[in-house]
């Protein structure tokens, strides 16, 4: 039955019928956003480690390049699976449309994948040269998905474009640093892992600041929960390790896993919150309130 349920929103709008429609995006898009964001940021951190880390950061450089390539390979199947006509996935590259974040994103993803494949070749001049554009596109991978969501009429995404982008960008960097830290711990290099944990903490702090600036995250329990997991836990673990005389490997691993899981949950919670916000006419009409005093003739 298509009839809407009568709620308080019936008093505003038209029988509570949603004035805008929800996106069809589900967990598959959330999974891509997390995988692509972490892969993009991993390439960025790998490039930073290559430039500033010296010899001891070579493990980070190598792992970062592999993670970037892995993400560029694993992510797109989720995107294609979410298409309602997946056999036409290649039409994504049929035109280039600068007003469409999805079109821009398709090219960012394609370029990122191509350069990341070159950068993952055995160490040499070609892979080093390819890493520069791969890292620049990786920064785009960490960010564009948030702007894609904001460039819609779904109130939850549209009302805070800047803070959502900073949130996704920071969460991607935190996740990539966490994944690289896990790899360093596995390789028995706690020193570089500690450096990466500090980067995770810095990114988590940025994510928290952006979430507060958004002014609406606390109203969505799932988003708030994802932030508690992906921000509060890593910050607590890594701060405890910083302050303690004997840094604990367990705490570092817990902090890293929490950052990755929290990032994935955040993407899912934000996408669900945006879809649900379209069902609240009040939110849409708040978003579309005119900036200046209404120009309409007075009500009779």
């Amino acid at each position: 039955m298509r009839g809407p349920t009568v709620t308080d929103d019936a008093a505003i709008g038209y029988y509570g019928v949603p004035p805008v429609k929800a996106s069809p995006f589900d967990w598959k898009i959330a999974a891509y956003v997390q995988i692509g964001g972490v892969a993009g940021a991993a390439q960025v951190l790998s490039a930073v480690a290559a430039a500033a880390g010296g010899r001891r950061a070579r493990g980070v450089v190598r792992h970062g390049r592999w993670m970037a390539l892995a993400g560029a390979v694993l992510g797109p199947p989720f995107l294609i699976a979410d298409l309602k006509t997946p056999t036409r996935w290649y039409n994504m590259l049929r035109i280039a449309r600068p007003t469409s974040p999805m079109s821009v994103g398709s090219y960012i993803l394609t370029g990122f994948g191509a350069f990341s494949a070159l950068a993952a070749l055995p160490a040499g001049r070609l892979s080093d040269a390819a890493q520069v554009p791969a890292a620049l596109l990786g920064a785009g991978m960490a960010t564009y998905t948030a702007s894609l969501l904001s460039a819609t009429s779904s109130p939850f995404w549209a009302e805070a474009p800047r803070s959502l982008a900073v949130q996704f960008a920071c969460s991607s960097v935190a996740g990539a640093a966490a994944a690289l830290s896990l790899a360093e711990q596995a390789a028995g290099r706690p020193g570089t892992a500690a450096t990466l944990d500090a980067i995770t903490a810095a990114a988590a702090a940025g994510e928290l600041a952006a979430s507060i600036a958004s002014g609406h995250d606390h109203k969505e329990p799932a988003v708030a929960g994802a932030l508690a997991l992906g921000v509060a836990v890593p910050l607590a673990c890594h701060a405890a390790n910083r302050l303690s005389r004997r840094p604990s490997r367990t705490l570092s691993v817990i902090g890293a896993l929490a950052a990755l899981a929290g990032g994935a949950l955040l993407r899912h919670a934000v996408i669900q919150a945006g879809n649900r916000s379209t069902e609240r006419p009040r939110d849409t009409f708040r978003l579309t309130r005119p900036p200046e005093p209404a120009r309409l003739p007075p009500r009779r």
């Binding site: 298509r2 009839g3 809407p4 008093a11 709008g13 038209y14 019928v17 949603p18 004035p19 805008v20 429609k21 480690a49 430039a51 500033a52 880390g53 010296g54 001891r56 950061a57 980070v60 298409l83 309602k84 006509t85 036409r88 996935w89 039409n91 994504m92 049929r94 035109i95 449309r97 007003t99 469409s100 999805m102 398709s106 785009g140 960010t143 702007s147 904001s150 460039a151 819609t152 009429s153 779904s154 549209a158 474009p161 800047r162 982008a165 960008a169 960097v173 570089t192 892992a193 500690a194 450096t195 980067i199 940025g206 849409t284 579309t288 005119p290 120009r295 309409l296 003739p297 009500r299």
Partner: protein, 293 residues
């Protein structure tokens, strides 16, 4: 293909259809009698399936909303029930009996947010300045659905494509007036060239105001509510007599694409800041030589 009657629209709508000119709808809600002939004509011409039959309790509106299978939707707003925090209406002015009816449709915005969002070029602007989904290109990404500020575009999950009003693109090519406008018995839906329609609509507002309807106004004509936030005009625009929200229309819709650049700039700045922080940390710790004691 030659049409049965060349330039039939000249006979039915008083306008000839020529490529390169801008066409649209002017929907005058004060003339709507809620007969739903437009809904039926649209479904018949475009071979759209019926909606799930059932009674909604929303006055005479059992259609509920525009969707992939419904491209005209007649709203019935009863203003007889107690308004929020007010008294039940007991007297009625001799005008539409406090019962607003409106035939809603795709607005064929210019610029069109759905078209600007479409990554495949499936959504395109036709030679008649209307906005159409090319079914042989759409891959069902669904991004046009949340992009639309009016909740018009919808996915049909049985064919996996986005659908919406085409402003009868096929009929326009054959010199025919769109089915809904042709079937409208009161001329509440008027088809024509945008400039003609706008002039006619402004005249109608003046006429209504002269009759004492001070609340009549245009929605979607340039410089009016609906044509806001980077959307210059709606090629299907309306004459309304109550606030837009009453008709489930946003008073100040915005062009979603304008939110793309600010978001990207903020996000990339955050990545740049964290990159700098990471470089300092890597540089200071030398990638962790010795690390912490």
């Amino acid at each position: 293909m030659t049409a049965l009657i060349p330039d039939e629209s000249a006979l039915t709508a008083g306008t000839t259809v020529r490529p390169g000119r801008r066409y649209g709808f002017f929907t005058d809600t004060t003339l709507c009698i809620g007969c739903k002939a437009c809904e039926v004509a649209c479904k018949e011409w475009n071979a759209l399936p019926a909606d799930i039959p059932g009674l909604t309790g929303m006055s005479y509106d059992n259609t509920v909303d525009l969707s992939a299978d419904t491209w005209r939707h007649v709203l019935f707003v009863e203003k007889i029930a107690p308004q929020a925090g007010g008294e039940r209406v007991t007297t009625m002015p001799p005008f539409q009996s406090n019962w607003l009816m409106m035939s809603d449709v795709c607005k064929h915005c210019s610029p069109a947010p759905c078209l600007e969002a479409c990554p495949t070029g499936s959504l395109f602007r036709t030679e008649f300045d209307t906005v159409v989904v090319q079914q042989d290109i759409c891959n069902g990404c669904g991004y046009c659905v949340p992009a639309c500020p009016f909740g018009v575009v919808d996915l049909n999950l049985s064919d996996g494509k986005a659908h919406k009003c085409t402003l009868c693109y096929d009929r326009l090519k054959g010199g025919l007036e769109p089915a809904c406008a042709k079937s409208c018995p009161t001329d509440s839906i008027q088809f024509g060239e945008i400039d003609d329609l706008t002039e006619r609509a402004r005249g109608r507002v003046e006429e209504l105001r002269g009759l004492g309807r001070d609340d009549a106004y245009l929605y979607g004509a340039p410089g009016t509510p609906g044509a806001t936030g980077g959307i210059e005009r709606l090629n299907a625009f309306f004459l309304l007599t109550d606030r837009p929200e009453v008709y489930n229309l946003p008073e100040h819709p915005t062009r979603p694409a304008e939110r793309f650049a600010p978001g990207m700039a903020a996000g990339l700045a955050a990545v740049a800041g964290l990159t700098l922080a990471a470089a300092l940390l890597f540089g200071r710790n030398g990638g962790g030589d010795g690390g912490r004691p």
